[in-house]
Amino acid sequence: MVGRRALLLGGGAALVAAGCGKDEVVGPPPATQVLRQSLGAERALAHDLEGSRGLNEQIRRRALDRARRIASALSAAGGGPHDVRAPDAAPDASAAPRRAQAALEAHVAALPSLKGSDRALGTDLVTESAADAALLGAPGTGSAFPGTPA
């Protein structure tokens, strides 16, 4: 059953979509912008897992590999990957689950901006980071829609 709130939301969306005069279409943000966000999220995750062992070390290496692939795509798109840095703070493994969740959300949010080979990369990023987030016990693990942008 559709609740009153949902109807209001749908109605509000209709008003927004109908616009107030101009037929301007707001597209997704540029690929360079979303790739920078994805890159920052992966570098932050890898940073917080520095010095870890076992499964967490495997996940750190996977995050670094994803960061490398994102940086390559960002360079190809004309962005500057080198000024996207990991946090200055000391590594904090207890923050890794939250970092992993943030990375997954960034990758999901990036998809509408990514076309062609970048979309294939984005699909890899969602698939791989979701598994890592689950293994770290990130918030939302086990739910039906993990990675829904907050």
């Binding site: 559709v2 609740g3 709130r5 949902a6 939301l9 749908g10 109605g11 509000g12 969306a13 209709a14 979509a17 109908a18 037929d23 279409v25 597209g27 997704p28 499964l55 495997q58 996977r62 997954l104 999901v108 949010a109 998809l111 509408p112 979309r119 294939a120 984005g122 699909t123 969602v126 698939t127 791989e128 980071s129 979701a130 598994a131 987030a133 689950a134 293994l135 693990t141 086990g142 739910s143 039906a144 829609f145 993990p146 990675g147 829904t148 942008p149």
Partner: protein, 158 residues
């Protein structure tokens, strides 16, 4: 705000954004998600009483996935009949027919792997942002389930 509200709001936008996504694009996206609805309905059926010990409620997740995709499919002005047991795909049938706990776990891992593969193909093909992000979060869910089930089975989760 609940996810259902978001989905309904998103479905309203799908209907009201012909300038953003043309009719051909929306038709194409509908064709991409239609078989996924059937796959999720099959998974929901197969997981009844067959969720491996220690795993999340995978049957409920499959039901939620089917409902979310069906909402968006209907927002495109299209409909599809629920599947019957005769329509079950091979990985789903294998889980439904698994006799022991070990067989169920093996079959669930194979089913989740096949769902990850199908959603990966879908995410690479979809255009409408709302449908794309719904499919992407479902892909994330199946990827998580696949990794957790492999860990549960004592295998390399990757």
């Amino acid at each position: 705000m609940r996810r259902r509200d978001l989905l309904l709001g998103g479905a309203a936008l799908v209907l009201l954004r012909p300038a953003v996504a043309g009719a051909a694009t929306l038709d194409h996206d509908g064709n991409v998600i239609k078989p996924l609805i059937a796959r999720e309905e099959g998974a929901e059926f197969a997981y009844r009483g067959a969720v491996p010990d220690g795993a999340p409620d995978l049957g409920k997740n499959a039901k939620d996935h089917a409902a979310a995709l069906r909402t968006q499919f209907q927002a495109l002005g299209r409909g599809t009949a629920p599947i019957t047991t005769a329509d079950l795909d091979a990985p789903t049938r294998r889980l439904a027919e698994a006799g022991t706990a070990a067989e169920r776990l093996d079959a669930a891992i194979a089913l989740e792997a096949s769902l990850v593969a199908d959603y990966r193909r879908a995410v690479e093909q979809l255009s409408e942002p709302g449908i794309l992000q719904t499919a992407a979060t479902i892909l994330a869910g199946h990827s998580q389930q696949h990794a957790l089930l492999r860990k549960l089975a004592g295998r390399n989760p990757f």
